[in-house]
Symmetry: C2
Subunit: 454 residues, 2 copies
């Protein structure tokens, strides 16, 4: 008989993860007898997810207990696993920031208030775990997974594994190529989170890159001219992604094409559409964000409606297939020895050559009762290391160093690095305006110049 667990879910009301997590939890028989502790600052969403989970569990016959709390420490106390999916400031705040920076000529962002709240939140969660459930595993999906996993594993003794679902982009490639049975596809895409590269891509045991080349030659132009995305993130086969394949030599997977050459693909809506397709131009546009936020709201409304409508079956409505998210794979592997092949973000320790040991890399791993065992992968091509991976490593290190030193000039450095910054004076003004905006009071106090600039 399986050991009952306590799983604490931070940010349990998140639109992106809550439904899937509830389903996966309820559909995992090995969790029988376990306690799921939903934590969110939003009481209404908490009620929603609780109701959904209770009804879903009831319908599928899952032997689970649920509790809700707005106190993070309640969810963490004595937990075996803590899942952190929190999103600190919300999409509306991000939009307000973008409106400010637009005045200075930035398209959709460009000036960050530093992200100290998020890094601090991660350390606070770890501090709670160290005190209240020191043997727990923290499953981190809150972004930035790259910097956050690196930070937490450097600064605390908590067991942390970072998860992302971007790597499933490889199945979008397969789908467009007509390779519909995912069982026939084997692949590897190591790197840093949101910066992963398809080093191996096999279909029925044979290299499938030639199929991609054939598609580019014979169908690419037509696809790019006629394809209309239904999802904002439907960019895996866009012109911009293939262009990056051409520029860097391997296919960038999932969120990777959003990072590569940030500025030249992303200067304005027209350019974004050229590279990432109609109608959204990829996920990082006003059009896409509006659609995405609206979609989230509709999804939350749907969950709420169905959860409350006792005449409808929630299991029937949302289905009884597990998602492809890896949270429960990690748990079942570690606890129940259900061995799994997963993609995780963990301190490198030699798994990916050329990256320091104490930097989180995204690599394949075997997970079972012996632990999460990252596989050593071959080196990425030097070109990708020097043009894509190592520059982002430095950017991440700068973000951690800035957080540690509270150095406002490192924020200014970031603004100055932005290719849309028009001048030094503009950079200073934009940064000060962002930091003095309502909602950024803590950030404004946090970041200090070590010496007065001249």
């Amino acid at each position: 008989m399986a050991t009952p667990l306590k799983i604490g879910i931070i940010g349990a009301g998140s639109a992106g993860f809550s439904l899937g997590l509830v389903k996966d939890v309820c559909l995992t028989e090995n969790l029988a007898g376990s306690l799921i502790s939903f934590m969110d600052v939003d009481g209404e969403r908490l009620d929603m997810v609780h109701r959904l989970a209770a009804r879903y569990a009831d319908e599928v016959g899952a032997d689970l207990r649920f509790e809700t709390t707005q106190d993070r420490q309640d969810a963490i106390r004595d937990a075996d696993f803590v899942i952190n999916t929190a999103y600190i400031k919300g999409h509306y705040h991000a939009r307000a920031m973008r409106d400010i920076t637009a005045k200075y000529g930035y398209f959709y962002g460009g000036v960050s208030s530093g992200g100290a709240e998020t890094y601090q939140f991660m350390l606070d969660v770890c501090a709670d775990i160290s005190r209240l459930s020191p043997k727990a595993w923290l499953i981190q999906t809150q972004n930035p997974v790259f910097g956050g996993t690196t930070l937490m594993t450097r600064e605390t003794d908590v067991n942390v594994v970072g998860l992302c679902h971007g790597h499933y982009g490889v199945y979008e490639i397969a789908n467009v190529l007509g390779l519909t049975d995912t069982e026939d596809i084997t692949w590897q895409a190591p790197g840093l989170n949101h910066n992963i590269w398809l080093t191996h891509f096999y279909y029925k045991g044979e290299d499938a890159y030639p199929l991609l080349e054939k598609w580019i030659a014979e169908e690419g132009e037509n696809y790019w001219r006629t394809h209309v995305a239904e999802r904002t993130h439907d960019t895996q086969m866009s012109r911009g992604t293939i262009h990056q394949y051409r520029m860097f030599g391997l296919m960038p997977i999932g969120d990777t094409p959003r990072q590569g050459g940030w500025w030249w693909y992303h200067t304005d809506m027209e350019t974004k559409r050229r590279w990432f397709g109609e109608p959204f131009g990829g996920p990082d546009t006003p059009t896409a964000r509006e659609f995405y936020v609206k979609g989230n709201e509709e999804r939350l409304a749907e969950i709420k409606r169905v959860a409350e409508d006792t005449k409808e079956s929630v299991a029937q409505h949302f289905g009884t297939e597990k998602t492809r998210e890896q949270h429960l794979m990690i748990i079942e592997g570690l606890v129940n020895n259900v061995e799994q092949y997963v993609r995780v973000n963990v301190p490198n320790n030699g798994a990916l050559p050329g990256i320091p040991d104490n930097v989180a890399v995204e690599v394949p791993a075997i997970v079972n009762v012996k632990g999460i065992q990252p596989l050593r992968v071959p080196p990425l091509p030097e070109k990708i290391m020097y043009e894509c991976i190592l520059p982002e490593w430095l950017e991440m290190e700068r973000s951690l160093l800035a957080f540690k030193t509270r150095d406002r000039s490192m924020l200014l450095y970031n603004v100055l690095q932005n290719h849309q910054t028009r001048s030094y004076d503009d950079a200073c003004a934009a940064l000060e305006e962002v930091l003095s905006t309502s909602g950024n009071e803590d950030a404004n106090a946090f970041w200090q110049y070590p010496a007065e600039l001249v």
Copy 2:
């Protein structure tokens, strides 16, 4: 009695180095009986430097033999030292390139034809040395010293040491602060060539950074408002240099302020003057370049005139003080055990923490008959590593990888990285126009796209 040597000087007619080298050679008594082989592709300049050297040696009573050759291998054959000061394409070609890129909105450059000729030239010199004088030391002052020293020490067995005089910028600081006796100043400024940082700065045994702080507070603004540079490179105490000291935490020395935050200090003439002073705005401006090239021409004309005017004493005209250049220090140290404390560019091998062993660093070294012995220096501050040093390391690695793979898309990547690039299409067009310009035929053939872009 000292052992006679053969010293081959490649690019012996260079305006920047020839006079100083001739003086230093003639004023070094330990070279008695040695042969100096001047090599240059320009026969007229060769005659000039030969005449100058013969007369100078005669006047100061130096026991030296001189020969001239337009064949590099003659200069290298059986040499004990080879000094490479060659400049491959000349200032006029650089100006032509800049005129082209100006059309695309770049101020003063922005699109490189890749520098393959220079790297290839360095390897060719090394191949000659390996064959004709395998025990020789190559003293490399031809730029890029950073990438070149790294390349040659990785790819060949030749003994290479890279030299630069930028570190003497520390005496310009001292001079402006009124610390006139250089004997009282001790300092250290390690890093990468053209990217070095004043970690130690003592005057009469006491930390002199507080004197700098006092100057900034009490005299800085007045200096920046009123100082008029007489040399194009007179930027060590400019507002831009002090601004970088504020941004990064240590004083950048010599050519370093030209690198740091390239684009935001360097967008146009007005901005350059703001940061690097009147009238030139630092060395990388049309005004400065014109002045500099004119100065070089005048200097060459002066050398030529004096060398030919047998009624005038060349030694009296040019003085009998050695320069501060380190070429002869290296030679006397290695051959005659005249121990010297020098600043050299050599493969790191642990001298500067956080840089791979096979990357050339600029560090202090002791030179004597036992060899050139780099001193281990403390780590640079993390902020400087992540914001200044490591990004330039990556840039250098990209330049070497591009050279090795002949990958045109890496040149395009560089153009796209330029902050003044207005769009992707502009970047492509500017690159193609530069590569198809007269004088760049070899580069245009050298650089190939590995796959057609989409």
